[in-house]
Symmetry: C2
Subunit: 124 residues, 2 copies
DNA sequence: TTCCTAAATGATAATCATTATTATTTAATA
DNA sequence: TATTAAATAATAATGATTATCATTTAGGAA
């Protein structure tokens, strides 16, 4: 894998945010800084980095979202606004990984995704 | 919601299988029995039933899959073949639901999705 | 440093699952 | 039986993602 300027900047951006942007959202943020970058390049690099476990790839409401935080954490997805919240309760994921039968499956990771209504949407 | 023959048959079929078919896979199975049914009808009904919590809607590899089993269970997705396996270890989901802060979020459900390689793909 | 080559890029076209549209049909109620 | 809101079938539109391909580039070898 070659260390291109584009990939470096994509990863840098993803690490700098606490949201879970889509490829297009990353593209929109980076485009002003690297005016020649193509949306396809952003897609390609995000997929490549997800494939090599440098970042996480999530599927929410028919779109892929990316997360540079590799720590054992969980997500909450609001079914109203679609926002993805981080939860940092490693014991939840650890419990799941402890319980699953590792003889039957070779487990690489576990995704714990809570669904519901976030406090912002509940108030409205 | 009107009780149409199409919706009845879609739900019946989904309840009869242990796989987690996409809308198109459901359509292909039902089409021979209801020759006039439209793929859009299958999509519409599956979404409607998922919305009203009669079935589950899962996102795997860029496609929606549906599951009529509402019991508290987990999934394992093989990154090789893409097959979705069921796990029945309610304690895993219960632990997660116990741990999450219900004050901050109104949680409706939790999805626990393990990723890795299934035993079939590992052998090959 | 220059050359070489596989890999990556940018631009754009293609894909394809899903959703929207609309005329027609139907379930359910009065 | 009549009414009507909801659902259907058929098809078009959508849109995120992937594929294609000519051009450029990173990085190692000579």
């Amino acid at each position: 894998m070659k260390n291109t300027y584009q990939r470096l900047k994509i990863l840098e951006h993803l690490k700098s945010v606490k949201t879970h942007p889509t490829a297009e959202q990353v593209y929109n943020k980076i485009k002003p800084k690297i005016s020649t970058i193509s949306l396809a390049t952003v897609h390609r690099n995000l997929n490549q980095m997800a494939e090599s476990n440098q970042i996480l790839k999530l599927e929410v409401k028919g779109q892929y979202h990316f997360d540079a935080d590799l720590s054992l954490h969980q997500h909450f997805v609001c079914s109203e606004c679609g926002k993805i919240y981080d939860l940092f309760q490693p014991d939840i994921s650890e419990y799941a990984l402890d319980e699953i039968d590792q003889n039957k499956f070779q487990v690489n990771n576990v995704q714990v995704i809570f669904n519901g209504i976030c406090s912002k949407c509940k108030k409205i």
